[in-house]
C-alpha cells in the first residue's frame, strides 16, 4: 500500500494551502519548509502517518488564529525606515481602497461631511477667485512690475495724486533717465466720433493717447501695427487702432479692415491695427485708440496749467520706484523753478505701481471677505471633525481588532488621515464645482466699480488654492481622530466598545473644545456681519443732499477736437440745454460738474480762499474750498435746495463784469456765521468772486465723507469741456431718453453720451460695495450659524445617546424631566458660553481690521457684540433642546435593561 504513495506531500493539501497563504507573499517559503520536514519525517514514519501529519499542519496553518498574518496581505509598518517607495505607495493605495469601502458603509456620514466641506471650499474658491483676479494676478502686460503711474505731487497741499499737463509730460519723459517708455492719456473722457458710411451714423467712444502708449504697455496689436511716432505729428493723416470688440461688432471681424479707410466725423481715417480681445486699457468702454494730437490746441490748450493727463511709465530694468521718483523729482523741481507761474507748488512726483492704482480701494473689502470665508472653512473643519469623532467612536472595536492583528498605531492614524483626505478630496472637487457656479453669481452681483471683474474665473491658481484648502481641511478635521488613534489606549477602548457605557473623558473634552472653537469663530463672523449691516444701515440713512425722483444724468463732453475756443464750448452747452428743455416731458434741465457720487469727482478743483472784509489768515493756512460748476437750473434739476439768495441765471455770463459764485451751507455756516454770505466777496487765485446764493450740502465722493466747503461757479463764466447733464422729467425718464439723445445730436451729431444713469441708481451704486460686502458676510455668518447649530446638536445628541444609561439611573433615582433637560442643555451650554466669550475677545482684538469699512458705528460697538452673543446663545439653546427632549423621553427601565 505504501508503494502507492509518493514521497512528495499530498498534492491536494499543498495546493489548498498555497491558495490560502497566497495573499501574504511568503506562502511558498512555508510550503517549502513543510516539504523539507515532510521528507525528514517520511524517512522515519510511514507514508500514511506522514501524510496525515501533513494534512494536520496544513489545516492548522490555514485555519488557526495564530497563523493569521500568513493569510493576509503584508502590513508594512510606516514607522519602519526601511520601507521602499513602492511599498509606501501600495500601502497608501490600500488605505484609499479601504477608506472608500468604509465610507460607503456609512453613507450618511460621508454625505454630510462631503457637503459640509464642499460648502466651505466652494465659498472659498469663489471669493478667492475674486481676490486672485483683482489683487493677486499681475496686470496682463509683459513685465507688469515695471509699469507705474506717475502723478504730479503738490507736497504743500497734501495732494499726491495730481494730473499732468502735456508740457510737463513731455519734459518728464525727455529729461528723466529712469524710464524706457512713458505715455499719457486724458484723465477725463474726450468723447468720440461718428462712424459714417453705414446705414445710420454710429457713435464710437475713443481713447486719445500720447506717443508710446502701446510701447509702454508692451502690447502688440493682433493685426496691423500700433500708433507710431509719425502718426502723432499734427496733420490730416488720421489713424486709428480698433478694439477687438469693435472690430468684431462693427466690421464683422474682417482682417481686410487693416489698411482701409473709414470716415470718422467726416474725416477720413486709416485703420492701422486691431488690438487683442484682452486689451482694454485705460477702460473697457473705449472702442478705438487715436493719437491725442487730433485734438487741436483750441480743444485742449497745451499749457502748463492745463493738467488733464494721466501718465503711465515703464521703469528701466533694475530701476526701483524710489530711484525713479527721486530722478523725476529733480526734473519736477527744475520745472518748478523754470515755470513758477504754473509749477511753483509742483515740486515732486508720486510714483505708484500701476497694479495698485488699478486695484485701488477694492483691497480692504476683498480681504475682509476672504477672512470671513476662511473662518467659514474653519467652522466646516470643526463640524466635520466632530462628525469624524462620533464616527470613530463607533469604530473603536474595528480599530482595536486591527491593532490586535498587528497594525501599528501609526498605521491606524494614517488610515484615519487617509479617510479624512479622501473626504476632503471629494468635498474639494465638489466644492470647486459649487464655486464655479458661485463665481458667476458673485460677478453678476458685484458692484460695477470693482476693477478687473471680467478677469474673475477659475484658473490654475484658484484650483491650486482650492486643493490646498481641501488638503488643509482634511488635515485639520482628520487630525483629532488620528491623534486619538495614535495616542489612544486601544485596550481600554476595546473594553468600552462593548457597551454604550460612558464616554472617555478625553473624547468629551476634545469635542467640547471643538464646540468652543466653532462657537468662537461663529461669534466673530456674526459680529462682523452685524457691524457691516449696521454700518450699511447708517449709510443708507445719510441724505445725499439732492432728490433723485424722475431724474436722469449723463456725461456730455464737448467735442474738443471740433470747437475752436471756450466761447464755442459755452455756446455748445447752452444749445444743448436749450434743445433738451424743449423736449416735451422735460420739467427742468441743467449742467453740473463734477457729478456727485461718481468717479468723475477729480474733475473738481481745490482752491484756497479768503473773505473780503475778514482778517486774512496767515500764509499757507487759508481755508480751502472745492470748486464746482453749475448752469442755470442745475440746482432745481438736482433737487438741491436754495437756502438764500438766488440760483444762476442768464445774467451770470462773461458780460456780468464780475465772477459770481454760490456756496454750500457748510461753508456759509463756517465762514459767515451771521448769515451774511450773500453779498459777500471771496478772494481766490488773485481775483474776487461775489457770492449770490447759498444752497444745501451735497455729498461729494461718497456718502460717508465729511461735508467740505463748496463753491459753485457758473458754466457761462468759467468753461469746462466735460459736463454732466441733469434732466428731471414729468414722467419716468426712461421713456424720454431717446428724445433727449436726439436733442443733443441735433446740436452735434458726433456727440457721445456716457454714463447715462438715474440719480436714484447713482445713490444706490455708491453703496453697492458696502452692500455687497455686508450681504456676503451676512450670508457667511448665516451659513456659519447653521453649521454651528448642526454641530452643537450633533454633540449634545450624541452625548445623550452615549449617556442613555446614566440618564436612566438619574431618572430612576428620582430626577424629573426638567432636571434631566436642564442637565443635558447645561452640558452643551457650558462649552457654548466659553466659545461666546472667546469669540467676543477675538472679535474685539480683530476689530481694527474692519474699522476702515465701517461708517457711523465703531468696531467695538457693544450692542452688536451683545446681539451676536444673544443670537448664538439662542441658536445653541434651540440646538440642544431637541436632544434634551429626547433625553426626557428615556424610559429608565428600558435604558438599564439594554446594558
Amino acid at each position: 500500500m505504501n508503494r502507492h504513495l509518493s514521497p512528495a506531500p499530498p498534492r491536494l493539501a499543498e495546493r489548498w494551502l498555497r491558495r490560502r497563504l497566497s495573499a501574504s507573499g511568503v506562502g511558498d517559503f512555508v510550503i517549502g519548509d513543510l516539504r523539507e520536514e515532510f521528507a525528514v519525517r517520511r524517512r522515519r514514519r510511514s507514508a500514511l502517518a506522514t501524510r496525515l501529519w501533513y494534512w494536520g499542519q496544513a489545516l492548522r496553518l490555514a485555519l488557526s488564529r495564530d497563523a493569521r498574518p500568513l493569510r493576509r496581505p503584508p502590513l508594512p509598518d510606516p514607522d519602519s525606515p526601511r520601507l521602499g517607495p513602492f511599498e509606501v505607495i501600495s500601502s497608501i493605495l490600500q488605505d484609499i481602497r479601504y477608506g472608500f469601502r468604509s465610507l460607503l458603509k456609512s453613507p450618511v456620514f460621508a454625505l454630510a461631511a462631503v457637503l459640509t466641506i464642499a460648502l466651505g471650499i466652494g465659498a472659498n474658491a469663489a471669493i478667492f477667485s475674486m481676490v486672485n483676479a483683482v489683487l493677486l494676478r499681475p496686470l496682463p502686460y509683459p513685465e507688469p512690475e515695471q509699469l507705474v503711474r506717475v502723478y504730479s505731487a503738490y507736497p504743500e497741499r497734501d495732494n499726491l495724486r495730481g494730473t499732468a499737463s502735456a508740457n510737463d509730460f513731455r519734459d518728464w519723459r525727455d529729461q528723466s533717465e529712469s524710464f524706457t517708455q512713458m505715455t499719457a492719456f486724458p484723465a477725463v473722457s474726450m468723447g468720440g466720433f461718428v462712424l459714417s458710411g453705414n446705414d445710420r451714423p454710429e457713435r464710437m467712444l475713443a481713447h486719445f493717447v500720447e506717443e508710446g502708449f502701446f510701447e509702454t504697455l508692451a502690447v502688440s496689436p493682433l493685426l496691423g501695427r500700433p500708433i507710431a511716432r509719425a502718426d502723432h505729428a499734427e496733420g490730416d493723416n488720421a489713424v486709428a487702432v480698433l478694439s477687438y470688440d469693435t472690430w468684431q461688432a462693427r466690421f464683422g471681424g474682417d482682417p481686410a479692415i487693416v489698411g482701409s479707410t473709414i470716415t470718422l466725423s467726416d474725416t477720413p481715417c486709416t485703420v492701422i491695427g486691431v488690438m487683442p480681445a484682452t486689451f482694454d486699457y485705460p477702460s473697457p468702454e473705449g472702442e478705438l485708440w487715436v493719437p491725442l494730437s487730433v485734438i487741436p490746441e483750441s480743444g485742449v490748450p497745451r499749457k502748463r496749467f492745463v493738467r488733464f493727463l494721466h501718465v503711465v511709465g515703464r521703469l528701466a530694468p533694475g530701476v526701483s520706484m524710489e530711484a525713479a521718483q527721486a530722478d523725476l523729482g529733480t526734473v519736477a523741481k527744475r520745472l518748478a523753478a523754470q515755470y513758477p507761474d504754473s509749477n511753483e507748488q509742483l515740486t515732486a512726483v508720486n510714483i505708484v505701481p500701476l497694479h495698485d492704482q488699478v486695484t485701488g480701494d477694492a483691497q480692504t473689502g476683498l480681504l475682509t471677505l476672504l477672512g470671513a470665508v476662511g473662518v467659514v472653512l474653519l467652522i466646516c473643519c470643526a463640524n466635520v471633525a466632530n462628525l469624524t469623532l462620533v464616527r470613530a467612536q463607533g469604530r473603536t472595536r474595528e480599530f482595536a481588532v486591527r491593532a490586535a492583528l498587528g497594525a501599528g498605531r501609526g498605521r491606524l492614524a494614517r488610515q484615519l488621515l487617509t479617510e479624512s483626505a479622501l473626504l476632503a478630496a471629494i468635498g474639494g472637487v465638489t466644492g470647486l464645482l459649487l464655486g464655479s457656479v458661485a463665481i458667476r453669481v458673485l460677478v453678476a452681483a458685484a458692484p460695477a466699480d470693482v476693477p478687473r471683474l471680467a478677469e474673475v474665473g477659475i484658473d490654475p491658481t484658484v484650483v491650486a488654492f482650492s486643493l490646498l484648502a481641501s488638503l488643509f481641511t482634511g488635515l485639520v478635521f482628520g487630525l483629532a481622530p488620528a491623534w486619538r488613534a495614535w495616542r489612544g489606549d486601544l485596550q481600554s477602548e476595546l473594553k468600552l466598545a462593548g457597551g454604550s457605557g460612558s464616554q472617555t473623558e478625553g473624547r468629551v473634552r476634545m469635542r467640547g473644545l471643538l464646540i468652543v472653537a466653532e462657537v468662537a469663530m461663529v461669534v466673530v463672523l456674526v459680529i462682523g456681519a452685524g457691524l457691516l449691516l449696521r454700518s450699511l444701515n447708517e449709510l443708507l440713512q445719510v441724505e445725499p443732499g439732492f432728490t433723485g425722483d424722475r431724474t436722469v444724468t449723463m456725461l456730455v463732453s464737448a467735442p474738443a477736437y471740433k470747437l475752436e475756443d471756450s466761447g464755442d464750448i459755452s455756446q455748445f452747452f447752452s444749445d444743448i440745454l436749450q434743445g433738451v428743455r424743449d423736449v416735451p416731458g422735460v420739467e427742468v434741465a441743467g449742467l453740473i460738474r463734477p457729478m456727485p457720487l461718481t468717479a468723475n469727482t477729480f474733475q473738481g478743483e481745490d482752491i484756497a480762499f479768503g473773505v473780503v472784509g475778514q482778517p486774512e489768515p496767515p500764509e499757507g493756512q487759508e481755508p480751502k474750498a472745492y470748486l464746482r460748476w453749475a448752469s442755470d437750473d442745475a440746482f432745481a434739476a438736482m433737487g438741491i435746495p436754495l437756502l438764500d439768495g438766488r440760483e444762476f441765471d442768464e445774467r451770470d455770463n462773461r458780460e456780468a463784469g464780475e465772477l459770481r459764485g454760490i456756496i454750500n451751507q457748510a461753508m456759509a455756516d463756517r465762514h459767515f456765521p451771521n448769515g451774511d454770505a450773500v453779498g459777500s466777496r471771496l478772494t481766490a487765485g488773485g481775483g474776487e468772486l461775489a457770492i449770490i446764493g447759498v444752497v444745501g450740502n451735497v455729498t461729494q465722493a461718497s456718502l460717508d465723507e465729511e461735508v467740505v466747503n463748496v463753491v459753485y461757479t457758473p458754466v457761462e463764466q468759467i468753461t469746462r469741456s466735460g459736463m454732466t447733464l441733469v434732466v428731471r422729467t414729468r414722467a419716468e425718464p426712461a421713456g424720454l431718453q431717446a428724445a433727449v439723445n436726439d436733442a443733443i445730436w441735433a446740436v452735434n451729431p458726433d456727440q457721445t453720451i456716457e454714463n447715462v444713469v438715474t440719480l436714484d441708481a447713482l445713490v444706490n451704486a455708491s453703496v453697492a460695495e458696502p452692500r455687497f460686502s455686508a450681504m456676503l458676510v451676512a450670508l457667511f455668518a448665516g451659513l456659519a450659524l447653521t453649521l454651528a447649530a448642526v454641530g452643537i446638536y450633533g454633540v449634545v445628541a450624541n452625548s445623550v445617546a452615549q449617556r442613555n444609561r446614566e440618564i436612566g439611573i438619574r431618572m430612576a433615582l428620582g430626577a424629573c424631566g426638567s432636571d434631566v433637560a436642564r442637565w443635558v442643555v447645561g452640558q452643551g451650554m457650558v462649552w457654548v458660553g466659553a466659545g461666546i466669550v472667546v469669540g467676543m475677545v477675538i472679535a474685539a482684538a480683530a476689530s481694527r481690521f474692519i474699522a476702515s469699512l465701517l461708517y457711523g458705528v465703531t468696531a467695538t460697538d457693544i450692542p452688536t457684540y451683545i446681539g451676536a452673543a444673544t443670537v448664538l446663545a439662542l441658536v445653541a439653546l434651540a440646538a440642544s433642546l431637541i436632544p434634551a427632549r429626547r433625553a426626557i423621553a428615556i424610559d429608565p427601565v428600558e435604558s438599564l435593561r439594554t446594558d
Binding site: A8, S24, V26, D28, F29, V30, I31, G32, D33, R35, E36, E37, F38, A39, V40, Q57, R60, L61, S64, R65, D66, A67, R68, P69, L70, P74, L75, P76, D77, D79, S80, P81, R82, G406, G408, R409
Partner: protein
C-alpha cells in the same frame, strides 16, 4: 515610542533563537531551537505568524537562499535581526535583567 519597543514573550524567544542560529536561522531551525533549548512546544502557525509580525515591525529581515532537493525547488528564507530589532531585544533583555536583580537565589533554585 515608549512601550512599543518591548517584545512579547514568544517574540522575545524567536528573536533570541534567530540570533543564536546566526547563519543557520531558517524557520525550521528556529522552531527546533526554541523547542530544544526553551523546552516548549511551538505551534507552526504561531511561529510563522510571529515571524511575519516581527518582520512587519521592522525587527526581522530575511534573505532568500538556494533550495535543497527536499524542498522541490522552493527557496528558503534565512532570517536575521535588524538594528531596530537589536535595540528592541536589548530593551526587553534589560527589562528582564532589571526586574530579576536580587531574585537570583529564588529564580535559580
Amino acid at each position: 515610542m515608549g512601550t512599543a519597543t518591548f517584545l512579547g514573550e514568544f517574540e522575545h524567544l524567536v528573536m533570541l533563537a534567530v540570533m543564536q542560529l546566526g547563519e543557520d536561522a531558517h524557520a525550521i531551525r528556529v522552531r527546533e531551537q526554541i523547542e530544544g533549548r526553551a523546552d516548549r512546544r511551538v505551534a507552526r502557525g504561531a511561529l510563522y505568524g510571529t515571524l511575519t509580525r516581527l518582520q512587519e515591525k521592522g525587527f526581522l529581515d530575511w534573505q532568500v537562499e538556494d533550495s535543497t532537493p527536499e524542498r522541490g525547488g522552493i527557496p528558503r528564507r534565512r532570517f536575521q535581526i535588524t538594528d531596530t530589532g537589536l535595540v528592541a531585544l536589548r530593551h526587553s533583555q534589560r527589562a528582564i535583567a532589571n526586574l530579576s536583580e536580587g531574585l537570583e537565589g529564588a529564580l535559580e533554585g
